[in-house]
């Protein structure tokens, strides 16, 4: 029989060979009844379990219990990176909006000012410095808002500035001097800004100038020294900055014309103040004639020159015993 015939014919083992193979299978390959029962029971248990829980698996049939996974345990690196990027983006957006809202004229501006005030130190000297820094910041915000032409922000910043310098009036001693000099400088800046300020901010600038003038006077009086009483050093009037009180550049400005006294008073006082009395002079320069007056303290005795033994002592004085010896 060739290959084709074998392929189409049904090969028969024959009765004897089939009986032999059947007996072999029955004796050595057939499962026992116990094996069949065990296998059926396990398989049917799994079948019923799957009917109850269709997601059950072979592992579940073998006693496998799913382990509770930790939070974010299934997150991949890519997912974590995406989430972090989203969180950073949201944080930046939120921070930017809060920052924008807390700028001068923003809805959170007053809240920010209030928070800054809460953070002021309790030590009087340090507190004055911090309040000066706050006033300086408000002034900078006002200048920046004026430059932008933002009237609302400028007025808000100037109002905050007025509030800040009002707190300076309680200063005394060296702190008051520092505060006064700083407010003077602020005033010069305000005058400079007023020249090119938009109309909407003119009112705020005017109030700030008036207030700064009042604070300067208050600080001067509170310190026991009149404003500009001889301490009107060049630094007070314009310590390297343009303007300063009474500088020619400020006179034509409207604010300067509104307050002529304020612009002239501080600079005039140092010039008017005469030199103090001469009580200190005798101590500094001794009188050359004092040594010749007999009634006064004799001059110190000169040490005899060893090279001149014939020198006589002063009149009316006995020679020293050591000098009388031969």
């Amino acid at each position: 029989m060739n290959e084709d015939e074998m392929a189409i014919a049904e090969p028969l083992a024959g009765e004897e060979l089939e009986r032999t193979l059947g007996r072999y299978a029955r004796v050595r390959l057939d499962p026992s009844q116990a094996q069949r029962r065990r296998a059926r029971s396990a398989v049917m248990e799994e079948a019923w379990r799957r009917r109850i829980d269709p997601t059950g698996s072979v592992a579940a049939a073998a006693g496998y219990r799913p382990v509770r996974r930790a939070l974010f345990a299934g997150w991949t690196t890519r997912r974590i990176a995406t989430s972090l990027s989203a969180a950073v983006l949201v944080g930046l957006m939120f921070g930017s909006s809060v920052f924008a809202a807390s700028r001068a004229g923003g809805p959170l501006y007053e809240s920010r000012i209030a928070l800054e005030s809460l953070a002021l130190p309790s030590d009087p000297s340090a507190r004055i410095d911090a309040e000066l820094a706050q006033a300086q910041s408000r002034l900078a915000e006002a200048v920046e808002a004026t430059g932008r032409g933002d009237d609302r922000a400028a007025v808000a910043a100037l109002d905050a500035y007025n509030t800040a310098i009002d707190r300076l009036t309680v200063a005394g001693g060296p702190s008051a001097d520092r505060a006064r000099e700083a407010v003077r400088f602020h005033r010069s800046v305000l005058l400079e800004v007023a020249a090119g300020a938009p109309a909407g901010a003119a009112g705020g600038l005017e109030r700030a100038l008036e207030n700064s003038n009042r604070v300067i006077e208050s600080l001067g009086n509170g310190n026991g020294t009149p404003a500009g009483n001889g301490k009107g050093t060049p630094g007070a009037n314009g310590n390297g900055t343009p303007g300063g009180n009474g500088t020619p550049g400020l006179k034509p400005t409207p604010a300067a014309t509104d307050e002529p006294d304020a612009t002239t008073e501080p600079t005039a006082k140092p010039g008017k103040t005469p030199a103090p009395d001469a009580t200190a002079r005798p101590g500094k320069t001794p009188d050359p004639d004092a040594t010749t007056k007999p009634g006064k303290t004799p001059p110190p005795r000169k040490t005899p020159d060893p090279g001149r033994p014939d020198v006589t002592p002063d009149r009316g004085q006995k020679p020293a015993p050591s000098d009388a010896r031969p």
Binding site: E10, G14, Y24, V27, A39, A61
Partner: protein, 195 residues
Amino acid sequence: MTIDDGAIERLVAAAQQGDPEAFGALFDHYYGPVHRYVAARVGRPSDAEDLAQLVFVKALEALPRYESRGIPFGGWLFRLARNVVIDHTRTRRDHATLDLVAERADQDDGPDELAVLRQEMDSVALALRRLTPEQREAIELRFFAGLSARETAEVMGRQEGTVRGLQFRAIAALRRDLGIEDPANALPRVAGTTR
């Protein structure tokens, strides 16, 4: 229990719908053949029991994805069994031979009958081991598992004619080794007269 192909398809459809009793009926029908096939392949009785059970658990798992597509359920199930045996063979090397398998003879058999039976079984086992792997698998699937030539071809991944050729040569070798000479009863018949 003997059920026809139509009944098997209905049981498969019911089992796919989640009917455990339908799957139980399929288990009852196929467990014996599957166990015989697995036992013939792995030799060790304990392994055969575990693997046969695993075949049905895997069938339970894969049954929702089963589509007939002209492939009989028996062929699909024995392909699962074949893969399970292959996986087992790859992981375990210490296979017991069929000679070590405990024999289940009739309780009425006496010592002499048992001795004769053992000798006969040893001869069959030896003859089977002398076959080529493909011939031996064709015999295991056709005679021990009771599959048709088409199902056997499906399981082995070969053409049906190839399976018939393997079976023909395997039968001839077994007859020769076992000293069985009955050519009159072993005349080939035209395909299709049997399953």
